[in-house]
Symmetry: C2
Subunit: 338 residues, 2 copies
C-alpha cells in the first residue's frame, strides 16, 4: 500500500507534515509513503530525518505549492506543478492508493476531482466532518465540496456517510438523517423534500429529518445536507464555539475570585476543548473520489498528520471505496455521467 503525502501547504508545513509522517511510519506498518514537495525547500528536513535513507519513503519533487490565501481555481490553472496536483496525479495514475494533505482545501478538491476523478457512478464528492455531541460524535456531510446539490447527490452522501461512520467511528447500523427545518416529513426545502423521498426507499437506517439542535443530542449518526448548508453550519459552530471561549475567558478574568475559579477548573475547560479535537481524526475525507483522500486542517500538528495517514491506510485496507460502490448499487443510486 502506498500513501501520497503532500508535504507543502498548511500553517506548520513542511515541519509538521514530515514529523507526522515519520511518526506514522514508526507506529504503523503495512504501507509506504510518497512524500511530494519542493525538494530544495525540504532539504534541511531530508538531512535531519534522513528521509532519503528510509526504505519506506519515496521523495517526489514538485516545484510549486498553493498558498493558503490563493484562490483554488487560479491554483489549478496556474500551478500545474504544485505539490497537491502532483500528489493527486500519482493516485490518479494508480501509482498510489491514498492522498493526505493539510494544504488548501479548495485546491485539494480541485486537484483530486480533476486528477483522480470521482468513483464510477458518483456525481459529486462530499467532505465529511466529525462533530461533537453530548453523547459522542456524529458525521456531517457535505461540509463544503458542492454548494448546489441535487436530491440524488444527498442520497449518495448518505451511503458514503454510512460507511465512513461504520469504519471510522465504529457505529454498527448508523442512523441517517437529513438536515432540515422541522422533524415532520413535509418540512424542508425543495431539495431536502425530494431527497427525503429517495432516502426512504434506500436500504439504510433512515430516521428522517434532523434539526440543527437535534444534531448535538445524537439523534443521528450521519447528517446529510448540501455543501452550502454544511459549510455554513460547520463554520457557524466553529465561530460560536470560539466566541463562547472568548466570552468565558473575559468573564473569568474580571476579579480574583473568578480567576481562582478558572485556575481550579483548568482541566475541566481543557476536557471540553478536546471534544472538538480535530487531531484525533486527522482531518476530513473527501468521499466519492476514486482513491482515498484525507484533507487535514491547515493548522494540523504532527499528531494530526500522523492520524490522518493512519486513517487513510485504514480506509484503503477496509476498501471503503469498494464498499461505497457496492452500497450505491444496492441502493440503486448510481448516477450515469453525461
Amino acid at each position: 500500500m502506498k500513501i501520497v503525502v503532500d508535504a507543502m501547504g498548511g500553517d506548520h508545513a513542511p515541519k509538521s507534515v514530515i514529523e507526522g509522517t515519520i511518526e506514522a511510519l514508526e507506529y504503523f506498518y503495512g504501507f509506504e509513503v510518497i512524500l511530494v514537495g519542493n525538494l530544495n525547500e525540504l532539504k534541511p528536513y531530508i538531512e535531519t530525518y534522513r528521509l532519503d535513507k528510509n526504505p519506506r519513503i519515496k521523495l517526489v519533487h514538485a516545484e510549486q505549492f498553493v498558498r493558503m490565501d490563493e484562490s483554488s481555481t487560479v491554483s489549478l490553472r496556474q500551478k500545474k506543478n504544485s505539490s497537491i496536483t502532483v500528489a493527486a496525479s500519482i493516485v490518479g495514475d494508480k501509482k498510489a492508493d491514498a492522498l493526505v494533505t493539510i494544504g488548501h482545501t479548495g485546491a485539494a478538491m480541485a486537484a483530486t476531482t480533476v486528477r483522480m476523478r470521482t468513483l464510477p457512478g458518483v456525481e459529486r464528492p462530499a467532505i465529511a466532518v466529525i462533530m461533537p455531541s453530548t453523547e459522542g460524535k456524529f458525521i456531517l456531510l457535505d461540509a463544503g465540496a458542492n454548494v448546489d446539490c441535487k436530491p440524488q447527490n444527498l442520497a449518495q452522501f448518505a451511503v458514503m456517510g454510512e460507511l465512513y461512520s461504520k469504519h471510522v467511528l465504529g457505529v454498527r447500523n448508523p442512523k441517517i438523517g437529513i438536515m432540515s427545518v422541522g422533524d415532520e416529513d413535509i418540512k424542508g426545502n425543495e431539495l431536502t423534500k425530494e431527497a427525503f423521498k429517495i432516502l426512504t426507499k434506500m436500504p439504510i437506517n433512515f430516521i428522517g429529518n434532523v434539526e440543527g439542535n437535534d444534531m448535538f443530542e445524537n439523534k443521528a449518526d450521519v447528517v446529510v445536507c448540501d455543501g452550502f448548508v454544511g459549510n455554513v453550519v460547520l463554520k457557524s459552530c466553529e465561530g460560536l464555539s470560539k466566541a463562547i471561549q472568548f466570552l468565558l475567558k473575559k468573564a473569568f478574568m474580571k476579579n480574583p475570585i473568578r480567576i481562582t475559579s478558572a485556575i481550579l477548573g483548568l482541566k475541566a475547560f481543557a476536557e471540553l476543548k478536546d471534544i472538538s479535537d480535530k487531531e484525533t481524526y486527522g482531518g476530513a475525507p473527501l468521499l466519492g473520489i476514486n482513491g482515498i483522500c484525507i484533507i487535514g486542517h491547515g493548522s494540523s500538528s504532527s499528531k494530526a498528520v500522523c492520524n490522518a495517514i493512519k486513517i487513510a491506510a485504514d480506509l484503503v485496507e477496509k476498501d471503503l471505496n469498494g464498499e461505497i460502490l457496492k452500497r450505491l448499487k444496492e441502493s440503486n443510486i448510481i448516477v450515469e455521467k453525461e
Copy 2:
C-alpha cells in the same frame, strides 16, 4: 395606539402573558392592549388582576387556541377561531397596530400572512433574530419564515434588517452581509451569487459575503440568508450552546476541586448565559407583514412578554413599516404581486 396580545399558547401562558401585559401597561404609556383568548379559561386571571376594570385593556374572546405540538397548516384550516387567527384578524382589519404572541411560530406566520398580508411590494416576510457576538449583537434574517427564497427576497430582507438594526439595536449605518461559504465575491450558491449582484447596487452599507465564523466576530450587523439556512444555523447554534453547557457542567462535577471552581465561577457562567438572553428583546419580529408582529419564544417569561409589547409599541411609533416601504422604493426592489 392599540396592541393585540395573544393570551394563549406558549409554555407558561396565559399566566406569563397576562403578567407581562400588566407590567408593560404599568411601565409604559401611550398604548392600549387588546387581549385575545378564551375568556372562560382566562376568568381566574381576569378576576385576580381585574383585567375587565382596566381602561387600557379590552378583552376579546377566541374559543380555540393552537397547541405547540400542532401542525401550522392544520391549525389554520381547522382552528378558524383560534386566538392567533382572531388576533391577526383584528390587526388585519386595521382595528389595531401590532400583534404580540408567544404561541406557535408556524401558526403565527400562517395567520399573519393570511389575515394581515405582507406590505405592498413585499413578497415574503422574514423572521429576524438577534444573535450574540464577541463585541455585541447582530441580526440574522430570515430565521425560518421562507425555506425557498429568490434573490429579490434576500434583497428585501436586507432593507428590513437594516431598519430593524437601526431602530432596535441603535446601529447608525448597519453593515449588511450575505451568509455564504467564502468571502470572495464569486463564492456562494446560485441564490447568494444573484443576491450579491442586487445588493451591490442598493443604497445600503453592503459589505459582501459573511462566513459562519465571521458572524460572531461582528463582521456584519445584519446577515441575510434564506429561511432554510437561517433556521438551520439558528437551531445548530442553540444546540451547540446547550451541548457546551451540558458538557461544561459534566466536566465541572467530576471532583471536589472542580466543583469548588464552578461555585466560585457561578457569576461568570451566569454572565455568559445572559448574552443569548431572549428576554431583553422579547422575541423575534416577523418583518414585511402589514402591521408590526412580534413572535416571542414559547418559553417566554412575563419579563419577555413585557419587553415584546414595549418593542412592538416602539416599532409602531417609529413607523418601521413606513420606513421599510420608503427604503424598498429607494432601493428599487418592490416586487409586483402576480
